[in-house]
């Protein structure tokens, strides 16, 4: 057990020594890995923030129902009564056209425009919360309501939420795709650095074999090398993303203020950070394994 621990400690310190023996090469490799991983990690950070923003500001999906302009109040009352009884409707709020006019008049810049209009341009309206807010159910309900007498137009307020949802899904897929591509890139980088390591350590590998080293003993420092290079590259990626977050936080904050949204750009979440480091280490290990299979085994 102590011997086993000692061998691992020796392999680790040998890997560290090899990493620091060629500092320029190591730094360039770490930078390459860092930048490669920063792209999907940064993408994940942006998507996570967008999801947070969407969840925070998207209201429950609603349906707006507008009466025809010349519909009498009685027609609106009839529709209101029907809506109250409709099984698909949770609540329906009546918005009289006078109220809409008053609200619009009080809003900045619109008052003067509305004053010169000859008559109230707004129809009576209902704002409806559906019982089932699944997109398909809401669409069916909207179509049904559109058939009611004197109803001019029914609008699904959830359309933009769904567009945002689709967009975020696309963003997530993009991040996953980037992660896969650049993960393969990381494996390739590790494969090549380990290959070079093996070539420069030829003498040491040969001597160790002659002195009774097992395959595991020979491979161990290279595995540590690959894992550490991956891990440090992952840390470099994390730092790049963190710096980008700091850099973007100011402009994003200003933008959010302009839209009067309470939002601050969050750095990579703890779970995502751990995942990034674990993946980077794992891919480094994989690259080392592939390289060793090619250049050490059976030699």
């Amino acid at each position: 057990m102590i011997g086993w621990l000692t061998q691992h400690r020796d392999a680790l310190s040998l890997a560290l020594r090899r990493l620091t023996a060629t500092p320029v090469n190591t730094l360039l490799s770490l930078l390459a890995i860092g930048i490669a991983l920063a792209l999907p990690a940064g993408g994940q950070m942006l998507v996570a923030n967008a999801l947070h923003l969407a969840a925070g500001s998207a209201p429950a999906p609603q349906i707006s129902l507008f009466m025809a302009l010349d519909a009498p109040r009685a027609a609106a009352d009839a529709i209101g009564a029907k809506l109250q009884k409709h099984p698909g409707v949770k609540t329906a709020r009546f918005v009289p056209r006078e109220d809409t006019l008053a609200r619009m008049r009080s809003s900045e810049g619109l008052g003067d425009v509305i004053d010169i209009l000859p008559k109230n341009p707004f129809p009576d309206a209902f704002v409806i919360d559906p019982k089932d807010d699944a997109p398909a159910a809401m669409e069916a309900l909207a179509r049904e309501l559109n058939q009611l007498p004197r109803v001019e137009h029914v609008q699904l307020d959830s359309a933009w939420v769904r567009r945002l949802d689709a967009l975020l899904k696309l963003g997530r897929t993009g991040v996953a795709l980037l992660a896969v591509l650049l993960g393969v890139g990381l494996i390739a980088i590790t494969f090549n650095t380990i290959r070079l390591q093996v070539l420069t350590q030829r003498a040491e590998i040969e001597v160790s074999r002659l002195l009774g080293a097992t395959d595991a003993y020979i491979r161990r420092p290279f595995y540590y090398f690959g894992v550490m290079q991956g891990l440090l590259g992952g840390a470099a990626a994390w730092i790049i993303v963190w710096l980008a977050t700091l850099w973007l936080a100011g402009p994003v904050g200003e933008l959010a203020q302009l839209y009067s949204i309470d939002f601050a750009l969050a750095p990579l979440a703890a779970g995502d950070s751990l995942l990034l480091l674990a993946l980077a280490a794992g891919l480094g290990w994989l690259g080392a394994m592939l390289s060793l299979r090619q250049y050490v085994d059976g030699s």
């Binding site: 000692t6 040491e204 001597v207 002195l211």
Partner: protein
Amino acid sequence: MIQFQHVSKRYPPGINALSDIDFEIGDGEFAIIGGHSGAGKSTLLKLIAAIERPSSGVVLVNGQNVGALKRAAIPYLRRNLGLVFQDQKLLFDRSVFENAMLPLSIAGFPPREAGKRVRAALDKVGLLEREKAMPIALSGGEQQRLAIARAVVNRPNLLLADEPTAHLDADTATEVAQIFRDFHQVGVAVVIATYDGASFAGARQIVLAHGTMTSS
């Protein structure tokens, strides 16, 4: 300790490095493999250490048929041998101490015990004062002595050396030969491939010529 039974080694394309070699070396014996350059001395040592496998015949080391060993078993055979190579095979990016330490690290020795053994081995070959030096700073004779220290640090019962006195001046060669004699004195079997029989006077001689034994 070592038994060769009708051992032949052919290299492609049909070069007979060794043919029908048959001898036995007992525990604690001191033997030298003599013969001209290219007679098959190095090949014979490589067969003992399972660096090469015989084309036919059986090589037994401590009762083990080393020619038939599985790849995974070879490291454990070598840990029980002390090997001194013709080109020494020192690692020039490691200190004298670390070079001598290598077999113990490979065998997974606890570091404290290993350090003691390394110093003992370096002391035996007279290199204790140079433990922090890099091999490049050593003279030819010192490098050879370091190679011997590395070979014996595991305390093997069999020490194999390939031309350990080549490229050394006469005085240094005598010193190095004395070190091997000292190990033989304490019961280690020593097998040395050398054309320099004079430095190892008194040892049993196995002489090869063109891959066949002429005397033993």
